[in-house]
């Protein structure tokens, strides 16, 4: 069951990813990206990382995509056809990607022995959250704080940029 589901999800992710980078309508690209993100969430579900999956859905699929779509609208480009990439760019990018893929696959396939372990354990939100704010062993309080500061900084940055814009307008 989950095997089939996984492969379907995987194919869907790849398909939408390809569509997302090749479509020439920007809004569609955003929507395809949304599907990719949802697919990713699905994989997290399959792995039974429910909290993560939820996070992925709300923050990523819900937050970021909406932000992107809004700003696309803000720059009023919705109906514009995107420019075609020039051939040289396509060729170079494809070669790079193919070589990269080949390289990584080469490494993965040569690395024959992954010692996989099986665990039935399901991490609940509470566990995850406790671990996140714990400063014991396996606690992530410090990175958590750092990330919070980062987010704060990002927020401040975004506000300042917007504000400077206002100032410019006033002038």
């Amino acid at each position: 069951m989950s095997v089939t589901l996984f492969y379907i999800t995987a194919v869907a992710i790849l398909l939408f990813a390809i569509l997302s980078v090749t479509t020439r309508r920007i809004l569609r690209a955003a929507v395809y990206l949304l599907f990719v993100l949802i697919g990713t969430a699905a994989i997290y579900f399959l792995l039974r990382y429910n909290f993560l999956a939820a996070l992925q859905l709300t923050l990523y699929a819900g937050g970021i995509i909406v932000l992107i779509i809004f700003s696309i609208m803000l720059t009023s480009q919705m109906n514009n056809q995107l420019e075609k990439p020039n051939d040289l760019q396509v060729v170079l990018a494809s070669i790079t990607s193919v070589v990269g893929v080949g390289l990584v696959l080469f490494v993965i396939l040569n690395h024959s022995t992954f010692i996989t372990q099986y665990s039935e354990k399901i991490y609940h939100v509470k566990e995850v959250a406790l671990s996140l704010i714990s400063y014991q062993k396996n606690g992530y309080a410090l990175p958590f704080e750092v990330i919070s500061v980062l987010l704060l900084a990002a927020m401040v940055a975004a506000i300042i940029m917007a504000k400077r814009e206002l100032k410019n307008k006033e002038q």
């Binding site: 996070l55 700003s71 170079l92 193919v98 990269g100 396939l109 010692i115 990175p143 990002a154």
Partner: protein, 105 residues
């Protein structure tokens, strides 16, 4: 882990996803679509973290948290990036990456 799916297959998926992102980043000219390609790459990496966690060290949560952080950073990054893009657009009325080359030699 997902019973019956070998780790390699998931890695194959993420690899492909990553390089699709790379391809997109190189071929797109619109800053938004470039940003989306970056999101694709970020996702590929995030999946990798989770998968390694789930397959190799299920008792620990490192990969899990890494992904959480990646998601939050991605959010912050997207917010700042979009603020920049919008600003750029307001200043020079374009979001085409090729025309934004003020920093040229």
């Amino acid at each position: 882990m997902i019973q019956g799916v070998p780790l390699q297959h998931i890695l194959l998926l993420t690899t492909l996803l990553f390089f699709i992102g790379v391809y997109g980043f190189f071929t797109r000219k619109n800053l938004f679509t470039m940003l989306m390609s970056v999101e694709l790459m970020l996702n590929a990496v995030a999946i990798n973290f989770v998968v390694f966690n789930a397959y190799l060290f299920p008792e620990n949560l490192q990969g899990h948290f890494f992904t959480i952080f990646i998601v939050s950073i991605a959010a912050a990054e997207a917010a700042v990036a979009i603020a920049i893009i919008v600003n750029v657009y307001r200043n020079i009325r374009t979001v085409n990456a090729e025309r934004i080359n003020e920093m040229k030699h």
